[in-house]
């Protein structure tokens, strides 16, 4: 009984990720896609918010969207797991529901 939350917005531009992280339940999954992956870069000012969220829920990031934006695997925050589109499908299937933060 968990929710997969998807975030497709840059946290620097919009409040979607911040709002998402404020509404997760313990055991939920958060997947950063599209411009949302920008949050997962090491050294960025939202690293702390993501690190804090890792206690309650698991954070994933979509690998092809990272690559498009020039963020290498070594530049992703520790503890954030990369998945491909198949992994996205698996996450959606494993959760009970999907909530998109647009």
């Amino acid at each position: 009984m968990s929710t997969l939350h998807t975030v497709n917005k840059s946290p620097y531009e919009r409040n979607a990720m911040t709002s998402c992280l404020g509404h997760v339940s313990a055991g939920d999954l958060v997947l950063l896609i599209e411009d949302g992956v920008l949050a997962a870069r090491k050294g960025g000012s939202f690293a702390q918010a993501l690190n804090a969220a890792k206690g309650a829920c698991k954070i994933y990031v979509l690998a092809p969207d990272l690559a498009a934006r020039g963020i290498g695997a070594g530049d992703v925050l520790e503890g954030v797991e990369t998945v491909d589109y198949g992994g996205f499908v698996d996450l959606a299937a494993s959760a009970t529901r999907v909530c998109a933060w647009l």
Partner: protein, 138 residues
């Protein structure tokens, strides 16, 4: 699911202000159509979504079509649960008094008028999200 296998909990997650974009209006159009399907329906208003419920909206000067009256009619469509987030209101300097009075008639209590808007805090909103079958985001 409370009433048979086909009844699902539908949650409409509204996070955007009205008029600047069409999402609020087209979300309402889904709610109205969805009402005919006899599912368990509730609406969540988070972030700028709370502005959708502002009282005294008058879009005439912009040339756009106002649609705030539709919210007041939701009760007639058996849509009676409008959850508004407290923290979202406060950040914007709003209270429930700034919102439209939206009510429904409770057939179990001699059709007494009851408020459809329920202010909940962020933790309660998170629980609501975690309790749904289908979440439509706008």
């Amino acid at each position: 699911m409370s009433d048979g296998q086909t009844k699902k909990k539908f949650f409409y997650l509204n996070r955007k202000a009205p008029y600047g974009t069409i999402y609020a209006l087209e979300s309402l159009e889904v709610v109205l159509i969805g009402a005919a399907f006899e599912q368990e329906v509730s609406l969540g208003f988070i972030d700028d979504g709370v502005f959708q419920l502002m009282n005294n909206q008058d879009a005439a000067g912009t040339g756009m079509k106002g649609f705030s009256k539709i919210y007041r009619a939701l009760g007639d469509y058996e849509v009676r649960k409008l959850y508004v987030e407290k923290e979202s209101l406060e950040t914007r300097g709003l209270s429930v008094d700034d919102l439209m009075p939206i009510t429904y008639e409770d057939e179990d209590e001699d059709y007494a008028e009851k408020p459809s808007i329920v202010v909940v805090d962020k933790a309660e909103m998170a629980k609501l999200i975690a309790d749904q079958d289908v979440i439509m985001s706008f």
